[in-house]
């Protein structure tokens, strides 16, 4: 038996899931105290046919490390799935928090075309701090919290890689 914890809504909710193998492609899965018999058939790299009790589902899984986007009918469930070891590692050093200094990073590579807030400027949650041009469109990079811009790591015109630090807000 393996116990997993799924993080939903960007880590705001958790759900415990237990998987017990019964045979090739057959499992007993417990979610929210209910145990179901699951027959899983892997069609190709992204598609899994699931028969849960007798209901049949075609599920698309888009996995990237522990992050997985589950496409099911018209719904999309972006979640993270961790076993106990990974959950412990995740929890010990840092927890998700918006107090203190927050670093704003570029979610994708691009070019900084405009700085909207200078060091020392107050900024509200959701307001743009810098404008990043990527794929021929301009995208506002927004502050994760109310506060003040304390550092700017980039200049107008600068090209940045995905994950690059743009500014910090406190």
């Amino acid at each position: 038996m393996t116990a997993y914890v799924a993080l939903l809504d960007s880590g705001k909710r958790e759900a415990a899931v237990e998987v017990r193998p019964l045979g090739p492609g057959l499992y007993e899965v417990t979610v929210g105290g209910r145990t179901r018999r699951v027959d899983a058939f892997q069609h190709d790299s992204g598609t899994v046919s699931l028969i849960v009790d007798s209901a049949s589902y075609s599920v698309q899984l888009d996995e990237r490390g522990t992050e997985v986007r589950v496409h099911l009918s018209d719904s999309l469930f972006p979640l993270e799935i961790l076993d106990e070891r990974r959950l412990r590692m995740r929890r010990s050093p840092r927890r998700f928090r918006v107090d203190g200094r927050q670093i704003l990073t570029a979610p994708l590579p691009g070019r900084v075309v405009r700085i909207l807030r200078r060091v020392g400027d107050p900024v509200r949650e959701g307001e743009g701090v810098v404008v990043l041009e990527a794929m021929m469109m301009e995208n506002d990079m927004r502050s994760p919290k109310d506060g003040k811009v304390v550092e700017l790591f980039v200049e107008e015109g600068q090209a940045v890689e995905g994950g690059a630090r743009l500014a910090s807000v406190e």
């Binding site: 393996t2 997993y4 799924a6 939903l8 759900a15 899931v17 237990e18 998987v19 193998p21 499992y27 899965v29 979610v31 929210g32 209910r34 699951v38 899983a40 892997q42 190709d44 790299s45 992204g46 598609t47 899994v48 699931l50 849960v52 209901a55 589902y57 599920v59 698309q60 899984l61 888009d62 996995e63 522990t66 997985v68 986007r69 589950v70 496409h71 099911l72 009918s73 018209d74 719904s75 999309l76 469930f77 972006p78 979640l79 799935i81 076993d83 979610p107 994708l108 590579p109 691009g110 075309v113 405009r114 404008v131 041009e133 990527a134 794929m135 021929m136 469109m137 301009e138 995208n139």
Partner: protein, 502 residues
Amino acid sequence: MLVANRGEIAVRVIRTCREMGIGTVAVYSDADRGALHVRMADEAVHIGPSPSRDSYLVGSRILAAADRTGADAIHPGYGFLSERADFNRACRQAGIVFIGPLPESQEAMGVKTSARKRMSAAGVPVVPGSEEPFSDEKEARAFSDRIGYPVMLKAAAGGGGKGMKKCERGEDFAGLWQTAKRESMSAFGDDRLYIEKFLEKPRHVEIQVFADESGNTIHLGERECSVQRRHQKIVEESPSAVVDDELRDAMGRVAVDAARAVDYVGAGTVELLVDARRNFYFLEMNTRLQVEHPVTEMVTGLDLVRMQIEVAEGMPVLRQDRVERRGHAIEARVYAEDPGRNFLPTPGRITYLRVPGGPGIRDDSGVYAGWVVPHQYDPMISKLLAWAPTRDQAIDRLRRGLADYHVHGIASNTRYLRALLDHPVFRSGEYDTGFCATYAKDLLQKADPALEEVALVAAAVAAFRRDHERAEERAARVGMSRAAGSNWARQGRMRALRGGTP
């Protein structure tokens, strides 16, 4: 034929060339070495670094590629150099056929303000706005204050929604002016802007025109393009719910007049705005093939790229009374963007791709599984179309197709498009260019909570399998390294075990 473009449109042009037995040359930047159009063409020439201003926008490099390969015609696709009269002229001077109108026609329509003036003089109704591009922000602001908000800021050299901003209030003017200027410079290499009055509840309807070298000019009916986000069309259909035969004839006549006024040759699109009372106004003419041209192909049964090439070879276009329209066609643009994160573009590797098939479905794509969508270019990865005898059936069919469209590794907008096609206002046909903004909340559907349990089961079973397989692989490796110390022998055995793949 050298195809001076990339992505799905380059692939589209190559397909028709192949059908016609015409050899093709692709051009590519650093980022596009592995792109689908390079793979499909008979020859391919590298033309520079990834940013389009250093590659796809450099006419001299494209002409050098044509010279090197002996190409005698250039198809510019859309965007990039397709509406640049100077490039068009340079092609002709080099003795190369440019698949498009004469440079003079492009000049007349290219600077949007002079096109408006010209159309106005030819008796074609135009949206009120500035006669010239503004050299100065202050003047532009004063003009906008005078005609009253909302106004549209538009790129004089533009098209395709780039460098276009709607300004609701004078306070916002300065910021939008700068943004539009920058976008326009980066898309067209020209940052002149002009101002147009914003019409309330307008519909964007365009007419496809075609003309041959003898001046025979026809139209192939309309495309309804009012479903737009950030002035980018995302769903197009034909026929339009507001256009009946009478209005189609009237708009068609105006579009043909507009084309004739500039001695047009080849494929062109006359964009019109239709107001709530079904008055229509000239907006601009795009002097090239349009992104959404397959909509017209599906209702008329014609191949517009073939027609472009035939016209360039001096053949006549078909007669207006031979144009037949049948059924309903609808297109949705599949973008590499994440609707759940404010439509942020999502460049990156496509790890898995399965596209729909079945009756009445057409996928014009520029990507494949394993391709890394570059961050330097437009995020559109494909256009999915459906044809059916009626509008309702065509919408149902496209919806079904989108549900079968699976892109992994990067987020895409397919779920957003499905929600859009299902929206009662879209279904009614009574929508305008404000549709996406007005119903933004409805279109970002939440996940169905009833399915969450199944999603958790699926994710947990997949994680269990992955962990299990990894553990087995580790055990196998440990066992083998004990059995034989040689790295080569071990590698050889690993290969044999995995079925020969390195």
